[in-house]
Structures are given as structure tokens and as C-alpha cells.
């Protein structure tokens, strides 16, 4: 009985163990373009302070870690969608709220949030799949989504021209 109780108590802790995002890099084995970003702790703080982001913008003040894995392929079918199951299971284990699950033709986007306060999140996860593109973003710490959208063109962040079914990076506009 005692063993069962101890096991039950340990389950949430096991669920919240850190996820090794480098395991997602197998998704990009056949990618023509890859982006792997892992920033946390002192490196993230130093990066933010160097860009004066934390002083001038509240967007990054509460950030703890950012993980981005994004891969673009020459043709469809060059990655195994099952490789995303582990990260989905991890986000579910954190009990974050799935706020968006949109499927359109062959595209899917899932957005999970950990709601901290009004208009602020304690974490954000995005899992996006397209036939020739797959992106996983995991941000832990407080982030204000409204502030994030205001970053366009500032601090060297390029304006993203969004057209249906295609995301293109355009140079930052200069006023």
C-alpha cells in the first residue's frame, strides 16, 4: 500500500521531467534547411541583456528557456510525424491547455499554453506540421503574447510576411 502511494506521488514529478529536445533533431535528418535553437539560463539572460531586450521590452523579462526545432524539406514525406509523439506527450504531461488545434488540408498547428496571469503565459508550445515543414517551439517562463506581436521590425526581428500556406522572412522595415 505504501509502495503504491509513493508511486502515485512520484507520477506527476516523473511527468514533469525535462524533455530532451535534441531527440527531435532526427526529424530533420533529410531537411534542406534546419534551425535548432536551445537557449536557457545565463546564456538566455546574457543574450537578452546584450540586445537590451529585457530593459526596453517586457517580452523577455520572465523567460526561462526557449527551444526551437524547425525543418524544411525538398519534398513531402521526408519526416516521420510519429517522431512528434514524444514532445506531444511531454506537453500533455505538463498539463498545459491546448488552446488551438487547427487542421487545414495537410497542415496542422497545435498551440499549448500554461496560463499564469491575465494576458500572460507561463509557457507556450507550438507544434506545426506541413508536408514540407515541421516546427516545434517550446518556451518556458512568462511571456506576453501581445508584446511578442509588437516586436515586428524592432530589435532586428524581421517582419514576417504571412501568406496562406507560406511563411516568408522579409527584411526588417526601417522607419
Amino acid at each position: 500500500m505504501k509502495t503504491a502511494l509513493i508511486l502515485l506521488a512520484a507520477l506527476p514529478a516523473l511527468g514533469q521531467q525535462n524533455f530532451d529536445f535534441s531527440t527531435l533533431e532526427k526529424l530533420g535528418a533529410h531537411a534542406k534547411e534546419s534551425t535548432n535553437i536551445s537557449l536557457e539560463g545565463e546564456t538566455l539572460k546574457a543574450a537578452a541583456s546584450l540586445a537590451n531586450l529585457s530593459k526596453d521590452s517586457p517580452v523577455l523579462q520572465g523567460l526561462k528557456a526557449i527551444q526551437v526545432r524547425s525543418y524544411e524539406f525538398d519534398k513531402p514525406g521526408q519526416y516521420n510525424p510519429a517522431d512528434l509523439d514524444a514532445v506531444r506527450a511531454y506537453v500533455k504531461s505538463l498539463k498545459w491547455t491546448k488552446i488551438i488545434d487547427v487542421k487545414e488540408e495537410s497542415e496542422t498547428t497545435e498551440i499549448y499554453l500554461q496560463v499564469a496571469q491575465a494576458n500572460q503565459t507561463g509557457g507556450l508550445a507550438i507544434i506545426s506540421t506541413e508536408p514540407q515543414e515541421v516546427t516545434v517551439i517550446f518556451i518556458s517562463g512568462t511571456i506576453n503574447l501581445n508584446d511578442l506581436s509588437k516586436l515586428t521590425g524592432n530589435l532586428g526581428i524581421p517582419d514576417m510576411t504571412v501568406t496562406h500556406g507560406a511563411k516568408k522572412l522579409a527584411p526588417a522595415k526601417k522607419d
Binding site: T35, I37, L39, T43, L44, A46, A47, A48, L50, A51, L53, V59, L60, I66, V68, S70, I100, V102, E104, E107, T109, I111, L124, I126, S128, T135, I137, I139, L145, L148, S149, L151, T152, L155, G156, I157, P158, M160, V162, T163, H164, K167, L169
Partner: protein, 100 residues
């Protein structure tokens, strides 16, 4: 009178006869003619320690600055990708709504 110069000659010959140099003669000459080292090994060791002590912190600082610059660029790229994904999702939702 004739015997005296002969004796002198013999003595001179004996005194000036060729003798092989001692075994360590060449090494001794080289040792004595070599210029004295400018600095002692201890001086060199202290100078090297000072140079290393000055170079390493500066090299480390420079490496750390490079790493931070790299991290800043990665941070900006990560935020750009996040924003693009959010905008793309917004566009997908709008398209879906328009079709309904």
C-alpha cells in the same frame, strides 16, 4: 759553451712539443665563449606566467562575448519563428472562419 745552447734548445723543444688537448678542452672553450643568457630561467618563467595571466582572461572574455552575440542572434531568430508561427496560425483560423 756549445753545450748550453743545445740544452736550451732541447728544453725549448720539450716545452713547445705538441701535446693532445685534454678531453673537455673544446667544451670548456665553448662554455667560456658562449654569451651569458639575457635572463635566467626563473625570469623567463615569471614573464611567461605574467603573459599567460594577461592573455587567458582577455581571450576568455572575447570568447564569451562571441558566444553571447551568437546567443542574441539565436534569440532574435527564435522569436521571429515564434511570431511567424502565431501569425500563420491566425491566418489559418481566419481562412477557416471565412469558409464556414
Amino acid at each position: 759553451m756549445k753545450g748550453v745552447p743545445m740544452k736550451l734548445e732541447d728544453e725549448l723543444r720539450a716545452a713547445l712539443r705538441r701535446e693532445p688537448a685534454p678531453a673537455d678542452f673544446a667544451a670548456g672553450v665553448l662554455r667560456k665563449t658562449r654569451p651569458a643568457p639575457l635572463f635566467s630561467p626563473v625570469t623567463w618563467a615569471v614573464a611567461a606566467a605574467i603573459a599567460v595571466g594577461a592573455i587567458i582572461p582577455s581571450a576568455y572574455q572575447s570568447w564569451q562575448h562571441e558566444r553571447t552575440l551568437e546567443a542574441r542572434d539565436q534569440l532574435v531568430l527564435a522569436l521571429s519563428i515564434t511570431k511567424a508561427q502565431l501569425d500563420h496560425t491566425k491566418a489559418m483560423l481566419q481562412n477557416k472562419r471565412q469558409r464556414q
